[in-house]
Amino acid sequence: MRWVIGFGRFWWDFIVGDSIILAVGGIAVLVLGLALARAGDGSAAQFVLPATVVGTLGVSLRLR
């Protein structure tokens, strides 16, 4: 049981760390990119992905 809790805590720290915004934002970046790629707008995704990453970082720092 202790091992399971430790394992869960490890992944929580790894993924969430100090800011849950970064975890949610990191997933949202790829979900948005997937939606664009599926819509056949792969070239737009090339610009949207990095812009969303920078936006996520900015929001997490703004709401620190």
């Binding site: 490890f10 993924i15 100090d18 790829l30 995704a45 990095p50 970082l57 720092l61 620190r64």
Partner: protein
């Protein structure tokens, strides 16, 4: 003769690109955690890779969902890299203490009381990052060798190109890791954060079907975009918020 040399060269170059990506991740873990952790991740990555290649052989290309793996590794690197970059930005802007000796002393004391081996203890976060980098890039090298070998009918030359790349990239890593260790700690962590976010965006994007126009060179372009953005954010933070007094420096 010429086609053989071309095959060897193509396999070498394609494999070298993937291996440099893996080396970057391993160096990042070694420099920021410790070399024991980084090398343990490399070893585990090689063992897992050898097991997959031995079990599936040439059918590997059909059975391993490379894109799914890219998304998984990409999202984790992206999130992990963003966490590092955020801390490095806060430190660079003077909003987080760059080094808190008291906190570090307390943590090391607690580790020693807990029986850990201090600075050389295996850091499992670093291990996972190192393992994933080696495993994913190793799989891509295996795909390159299998694809080139199958298409040309010369597995020996395709494998020789990859082996040559492994020797050269590995030797380069062994040479550069010492000078890199002298770079200031926060600069290293800032650079590592940039590298992880760039790799994460690139791999994650590839996995979901984004076709990067600049190919592997996109990683460098992304790193430049993120570096400029981070510099702009640091500048904005320094102007808008007065620096806080030194509070806990954190572990990363």
């Amino acid at each position: 003769m010429l086609s053989g040399a071309l095959l060897l060269g193509s396999s070498f170059l394609a494999s070298a690109v993937e291996m440099v990506e893996a080396l970057t991740i391993v160096l990042a873990v070694g420099l920021t955690h410790n070399w024991r952790t980084a090398l343990l991740g490399v070893l585990a990555g090689f063992v897992a890779l050898a097991a997959v290649v031995a079990a599936l052989g040439p059918s590997l290309v059909h059975y391993v969902p490379l894109n799914g793996l890219r998304v998984g590794v990409g999202v984790l690197l992206l999130i992990f890299g963003l966490q590092w970059l955020r801390k490095a930005i806060l430190r660079a802007a003077g909003l987080k203490a760059p080094h808190d000796e008291a906190q570090i002393f307390e943590r090391e004391l607690a580790e020693l009381r807990g029986g850990a081996a201090g600075g050389q203890a295996v850091d499992w976060t670093g291990f996972v990052v190192s393992f994933k980098g080696v495993f994913l890039e190793g799989l891509e090298v295996a795909f390159i060798v299998l694809t080139f070998g199958t298409n040309s009918g010369r597995f020996d030359l395709a494998a020789a190109g990859a082996l040559l790349a492994f020797v050269i990239v590995g030797a380069t890593g062994a040479v550069v890791h010492r000078p890199l260790a002298r770079v200031p700690e926060n600069a290293i962590k800032f650079t590592v954060g940039l590298a992880l976010v760039s790799f994460g965006t690139f791999w994650g994007g590839e996995g979901i079907g984004v076709k990067w126009a600049a190919g592997d060179a996109t990683i460098v372009i992304l790193a430049a975009i993120y570096a400029l953005s981070a510099a702009a954010i640091i500048n904005l933070l320094q102007r808008s918020v007065p620096p806080l007094p030194a509070v806990g420096g954190g572990s990363d």
